[in-house]
Amino acid sequence: MTHWEHFTHGADIGVRGIGNTLSEAFEQAALAMTAVICDPALVQATESVTVTCDAPDAEYLLADWLNRLVFEMATRHLLFSHFQVTIQGEQLTATAWGEPVEVARHQPAVEVKGATYTELKVAQTETGEWLAQCIVDV
């Protein structure tokens, strides 16, 4: 069942995406990261950004993907609510849809500073689902 969740880490927060495929898990992890900032349901998909990342393994790739989104949010002043990810080997190509931050409407609680390697894990579970998680620094 494709979904996202948060898990606890003292000062910060963990994001976890679960999906039927690796790409879906990455999409859900990104959604979990938006949920750290604000309610994703409040973010309309009016603008899109396309990104690519390369990394030596799936775990570094997850951190790179989330960090790239942190960069795009910070420099374009956007929030994202929809993601489409394609992963081929060491390369990720993705489109993220969202809209510019409106403080009064989105009530963003906190900025994400970066995705970390703490609790960083990308794996297929016994039931065949994919899990992608790490702690994000806020």
Binding site: A11, V70, I135
Partner: protein
């Protein structure tokens, strides 16, 4: 935390002898109560730090230590470059040179009370805070490099603040040997519009009242007495520092094996100081320190403007500015021998004792001001570096309270609106763009900073000088 693995050196010092791959002991300074409440992860992380090449004396943790990234937050470790010592991006952290500065105002509560609401509104309007906020400064590529090279000195040259401020900032407001060319375009792009912004999370600007003085002699040297109104600013190097941390963490994690370094945890990513990547990181990290110093300097200017509009008689002289996420090359005496060491402080404040030539002249006889931020609505403290602090953890002390519960737990327990109203009833005004942000930063979500400060004092890391209580708080 299970204390059976520690030997108790004193009531406030707990030691783990080297075992396994540890090269040196691990030492935690804390009371027994703080030790019992401390996260198990601190044990794992501080003993992991003790395995790194070139580490000198011991891996240390401060009384406010908690689970961090590779290093515990509240971690201190020094490395000798000539003995294979390393520099670690994880050991500095993402928010490079995050820190606190405190300003005098020359005002008392009687001056503030009649205009408190207006002062809060004016500060909130003038100091950009929260997600997506941008400053009034927009830097060109050339200006960016000048800022990264010059720090607070650059800001003063641009008209933000006064030359007299500089002597009261660590490194006189400018970290030497910064290398803006080692800072990526990505990092610079994140900073272009963010100079002079507070950020979010636990960053804040507070107007505070001196509630209590613990050491009259040192308080006098710092110009503090009971009833004084001061302003404290807590923020760091914003997007630029985070991006540098992120990029070098990856590069160091991937290159560690090339240098024969076995990482017990990817977040401990590091590189020999005598290596290309080590030198590149030091240059970029120093540029980020300057970014943080410039940022706090610009915010100081905005704060002065806000006060001038509401309370024109206010005189906002800088007391001091400390950074608590850094790696600095410092001289320390180890076993009677003077050595040049790269001291990492991750969530730890430099706390140099009396006599250090690095200190401003007016504080040199009493030791460095150590500024400890509380959480929104709770006390903050000013301590002083003491002679003993040099012999404990390379002249370092704690930096704050540390969280007692997660953000998720906090939002389940508190509503932002109720917190703001409740604090207002206690005379504390909160201004924040996000009520959820306020709930996540609820005072009850943090540990009691008083206990941490008492432990630092008893352990001899720094001496308690003054306690500050908040009157109004601008939250990012």
């Amino acid at each position: 935390m299970d204390l059976s693995r520690f030997s108790k050196v004193s009531d406030y010092e707990w030691r783990v002898e080297p075992h396994g791959k540890m090269r040196v002991p691990a030492v935690i300074f804390a009371s027994e109560t703080l030790m019992r409440d401390m996260d198990e992860k601190v044990f794992e992380q501080v003993t992991n730090v003790a395995t790194l090449p070139g580490i000198v004396k011991a891996a240390y943790a401060m009384p406010d230590a908690h689970w961090g990234y590779g290093f515990p937050i509240g971690g201190v470790a020094a490395f000798d470059a000539d003995q294979g010592g390393v520099v670690s991006a994880g050991g500095v952290g993402f928010d490079i040179s995050c820190g606190v500065r405190t300003l005098h105002t020359g005002l008392t509560l009687d001056d503030i009370e009649p205009v408190k609401q207006r002062l809060a509104d004016t500060l909130f309007a003038r100091v950009p805070a929260g997600v997506g906020s941008t400053g009034r400064i927009h830097l060109s590529a050339q200006e960016m490099d000048a800022m990264l090279k010059g720090g607070a000195q650059w800001a003063v040259k641009q008209g933000y603040g006064e030359a007299a401020d500089l002597a009261r900032i660590e490194e006189n407001g400018c970290m030497a040997d910064a290398a803006p060319h080692e800072v990526s375009d990505f990092a610079k792009r994140r900073q272009r519009d963010e100079v002079g912004t507070l950020g979010s999370g636990n960053h804040y600007l507070e107007v505070q009242r001196v509630m209590e003085i613990f050491d009259a002699r040192i308080a006098q040297a710092y110009g503090l007495k009971v009833g004084d109104i001061v302003v404290s600013i807590h923020c760091g190097s914003r997007g630029l520092g985070h991006q540098i941390g992120t990029e070098f963490l990856k590069r160091m994690a991937l290159s560690a094996k090339d240098y024969g370094i076995q990482l017990p945890d990817r977040e401990l990513a590091c590189a020999p100081i005598h290596s290309d990547i080590g030198q590149q990181y030091l240059g970029a990290m120093r540029a980020a320190i300057n970014c943080a110093l410039a940022n706090r300097q610009v915010i100081t200017h905005l704060t002065r403007e806000a006060f001038a509009a509401v309370l024109p008689q206010a005189q906002l002289d800088l007391l001091y500015d400390v950074s608590h996420n850094t790696c600095k090359l410092e001289t320390h005496v180890v076993d009677g021998v003077q050595r040049r060491l790269f001291v990492h402080r991750k969530g730890a404040t430099r706390a140099f004792g009396p006599g250090r030539s690095d200190l401003p002249e007016q504080y040199r006889h009493v030791g460095q001001p150590v500024l400890i931020g509380g959480s929104m609505g709770t006390a903050s403290y000013i301590l002083a570096g003491c002679e003993e602090s040099e012999s404990h953890a390379f002249g370092s002390a704690c930096h704050g309270a540390g969280r007692a519960m997660s953000r998720t737990q906090a939002t389940k327990r508190w509503r932002g609106r109720e917190l703001v109203d409740d604090l207002a009833r206690h005379g504390i005004l909160i201004r924040s763009p996000s009520l959820r942000g306020v709930a996540e930063e609820a005072p009850g979500a943090y540990k009691d900073v008083s206990e941490v400060v008492d432990a630092a004092d008893h352990a001899g890391l720094a001496r308690k000088v003054a306690k500050l209580a908040p009157l109004l708080c601008i939250k990012g």
